[in-house]
């Protein structure tokens, strides 16, 4: 059985008139439910401003609860079944997706396509096209290129206390001080060996974690063995 997760589109949420984002998220979340998603993440209205506040995150949750308990959308398994337009749109999306999959196949598969910068190029093209459509007002974004208010509305945002960084650095230093260095060394050595020999690295990650190796230390080993991804130059 195919299970799906959906998240509302963060990139559609705006810094201008941020409370409008509550409406955008509600419409997108409803679309996801109508489409039969199994799980759902709703973005907070301050998505384009900062990490969410307690309040904005709660409203995002309440939006889901309003859809679940107040709209009746859950009374039937597939409320849009039989809609001519939705069926057509589904077929059309499938057709276009298959075209892209074919194109990737012709290029020699997924790995080749990544190496040749196919995805980076397609993404950059699409985002530039989108930006131009907005700037030419071929695509209207309420509060950004239309219906802009004279007085910008401010909402309180989450500011991360610099103290958080100090506390975390201290905790890290303490972990490093109090762990068994011998066990750390052995665990990292085991991980390196497994990576070099192409064995299952998972049991070694578990041992590393039990030995209190940091994520950075584990990743350093992998970087050393596998190298790192170099983005093909493209703008």
């Amino acid at each position: 059985m195919l299970r799906t997760h959906a998240q509302t589109a963060g990139v559609s949420l705006t810094a201008q008139q941020p409370l409008n984002n509550i409406a955008r998220v509600a419409i997108q979340a409803l679309a996801a439910v109508l489409g039969g998603t199994n799980s759902l993440h709703t973005d907070a209205y301050d998505e384009a401003l900062a990490l969410p506040t307690e309040e904005s995150a709660t409203i995002a949750l309440r939006t889901q609860q309003i859809i679940a308990y107040e709209t009746g959308v859950t009374h039937t398994i597939d409320p849009l079944a039989g809609s001519y337009y939705v069926e057509w749109l589904t077929d059309e999306m499938e057709r276009q997706a298959m075209e892209i999959i074919e194109e990737i196949r012709r290029m020699g598969g997924m790995v080749r396509a990544i190496e040749e910068g196919y995805f980076l190029r397609e993404l950059a093209e699409a985002s530039y096209r989108y930006q131009q459509e907005v700037e030419r007002k071929e695509r209207i974004i309420v509060g950004v290129n239309a219906f802009t208010d004279e007085i910008p509305l401010k909402v309180p945002i989450q500011l991360v206390d610099p103290e958080v960084e100090r506390v975390q650095a201290e905790r890290l230093a303490r972990v490093r001080r109090e762990r068994d260095p011998k066990r750390v060394e052995e665990a990292l050595k085991g991980l390196r060996r497994a990576a070099v020999e192409g064995q299952n690295t998972m049991p070694h990650f578990v041992e590393c974690a039990l030995a209190y190796c940091t994520l950075g230390e584990m990743m350093d080993v992998l970087r050393e063995v596998y190298g790192t991804y170099q983005e093909p130059a493209y703008v």
Binding site: V11, T14, A15, Q16, A48, L49, A50, L51, L123, A124, S127, Y128, Q131, V134, E135, I141, V144, N145, K154, I157, L159, V160, E231, A233, V235
Partner: protein
């Protein structure tokens, strides 16, 4: 206003672990389409790498794109290194997710302009077309 036929050269840079490159690429492409010479650094650059690329490429301006929340740190570092290298004539500006509260603090550091989400790229083009030739004039280059 622009009797200068010298082309504006800009370095667009992504400092640190911030992987959000959509905005940086959109801005880089828009500046290029507007006739500027644009060098894009790619992801995960240190302030040292950025400043040394800027000097090597002899750019007029450095644009930092920061959506990670680490803007105070990176703008300060890049500014400091520019001064250390005697390259403070390079215009420093940028954009990304930067709280309004921090904009005056960045300006006080010497960051010429900060552009947030929803900015039209034309606004950024206009800014550079004004600010860079002004600097040339001040340096007696134009």
């Amino acid at each position: 206003m622009q009797g200068v036929d010298r082309r504006i050269r800009v370095l667009i840079a992504k400092p640190g672990l911030d992987g959000h490159d959509r905005g940086a690429k959109v801005v880089a492409r828009a500046l290029r389409d507007a006739g500027m010479e644009v060098i894009y650094t790619g992801l995960r650059q240190t302030p040292e790498m950025i400043v040394s690329a800027a000097i090597q490429e002899d750019v007029d301006a450095i644009g930092l794109s920061i959506l990670s929340g680490a803007h105070m740190h990176y703008f300060r570092e890049v500014k400091r290194l520019l001064e250390e290298e005697g390259a403070s004539d390079i215009l420093l500006f940028g954009g990304g997710i930067i709280p309004d509260e921090d904009v005056p603090k960045l300006k006080a550091l010497g960051v010429a302009a900060v552009f947030g989400p929803g900015t039209s790229t034309q606004e950024i083009v206009d800014f550079l077309r004004q600010a860079v030739p002004e600097r040339w004039k001040a340096q007696g280059l134009a």
